[in-house]
Symmetry: C2
Subunit: 268 residues, 2 copies
């Protein structure tokens, strides 16, 4: 298929790419942006369907971009070549590398999850910062959780900075988005124990039994866990902290708790 | 003392502030930048002497800046008021809040450290990214290490982005900078066991005994630990990783290892 070439900064496709940085158009179109060689590479590796790939050779940093584009096209993506200026307009990164794809969003429902007999889940509530959300997804991936369940999201999973901060984990770890009430009822119905991390807890996270069917529940940066989860969770636990009060952020607390669970579960 | 007002963008003091973003002038002058209300607040709280504080009321975001300035002046800082444009020139943050201080650097030597009978230390080698270095300092603070020892630094501790990412921990956790050979000899001389984290190790970090006199040793983002430390450390350990290979970065691996040590030491 011949590659369409875009040089006009007024081209409606470019305007759409800029719009997709914002959540509402992203939600309405059910599409999202994947920018950068590494991210596009991982999307292809994980069989994420790419509708369109925009590229601008003048921004390329490496030598494998052409092969990547051929692979994307073979997998069904439509290619568009942009002038250097046109790409500047659509790139949201500070240092673009000449590759930007659009992919359809997906939705995974709780009922879609294929879980083992003793699921290991991470529930996160109302995380605000895309960087934290991305880091939490990486932690979940490294810990081998079966799924991440995102309750009442403030920042959506398909935010360009989440895509980036997750280093492609978004494409591989099953993520479900749903309301807290629905999620807690579902967890209870399946006999999955909920352990909620909060500075107000008495029990240490490392004294809790984190084996068996488990969901670790983490709250937002600013407010911590909502009353709903604090009251609804089976066991509140805390992480002991020396030093100043805000040294551990939510992404760090999540990582610590997940790897304590990994440690205990490895000994099961 | 009357406050000097600076409006000329050619003022040599402004040029110096811009120069201090770079390492060489920072090292030569043995001074560094502390930008932002929170950081200046914490510097004052920790009795860090501030030589100069530059402020620009047009950039202020809150209502306590004047009180902070009075406190800084009482503690010996010289104040300079900048026009909005002048402050724009010297601010390195994307969203300045009208406060920027200059403080003298300090050097802590290994011999200066006042350590308990069973020290808990973190040794980091050649970390490159200021964000990682800052996060590692926060982790060390939260874990309550007695000191962080920085070997062969690529990024200096007084980099403005380290100051920022550390959220002020740089002002409170004792940090020593020295060569790897000196540090290893010192650790051995004091009978402090070195546990080095590397993906190539056989033993799991959580199977290692992390009680007693301990130094956890972490390598750089790109190269991991040098041969010097891999061969010199008493025990290499690894963190088990599910998912994709790069989900855990060095800051995350450090956090996991530090908190496993906290867990074990709490049970000692």
């Amino acid at each position: 298929m011949p590659v369409e070439i875009i040089t006009s900064l007024q081209n409606p496709r470019l305007k759409r790419l800029v719009r997709l940085r914002d959540r509402r158009p992203r939600d309405e179109e059910r599409a999202f942006l994947v920018e950068g060689y590494r991210e596009v590479r991982r999307a292809l590796d994980r069989k994420v369907p790419l509708d369109e790939v925009y590229f601008s050779p003048e921004w390329f940093l490496g030598e494998n971009e052409r092969a990547l584009l051929a692979e994307a096209e073979a997998a069904g993506a439509r290619l568009f070549e942009l002038s250097k200026d046109a790409f500047s307009k659509v790139a949201y990164r500070e240092r673009p590398d000449g590759l930007l794809a659009v992919a359809p969003q997906w939705r995974t429902a709780l009922a879609d999850l294929a879980l083992p007999a003793e699921p290991f889940l991470l529930v996160i509530e109302a995380i605000e910062k895309p960087g934290n959300l991305g880091t939490i997804l990486r932690s979940a991936d490294a810990a081998g959780v079966n799924a991440v369940i995102v309750c009442d999201p403030v920042t959506d999973l398909f935010n360009p900075n989440v895509v980036r901060a997750s280093t492609g984990v978004l494409f591989s770890v099953p993520c479900v988005v749903d309301e807290s009430a629905v999620v807690l009822a579902w967890l209870r119905g399946r006999g999955i124990r909920t352990v909620a991390t909060t500075p107000a807890a008495q029990a240490l996270y490392s004294d809790a039994d984190l084996r068996g069917p488990l969901a670790i529940v983490m709250g937002s940066e600013q407010y911590g866990l909502s009353d709903f989860w604090l009251k609804g969770a089976d066991l509140p636990v805390r992480i002991p902290m020396a030093g100043q009060a805000d040294s551990l952020n939510v992404a760090m607390a999540t990582l610590i708790t997940l790897f304590e669970a990994v440690r205990q579960r490895g000994r099961a």
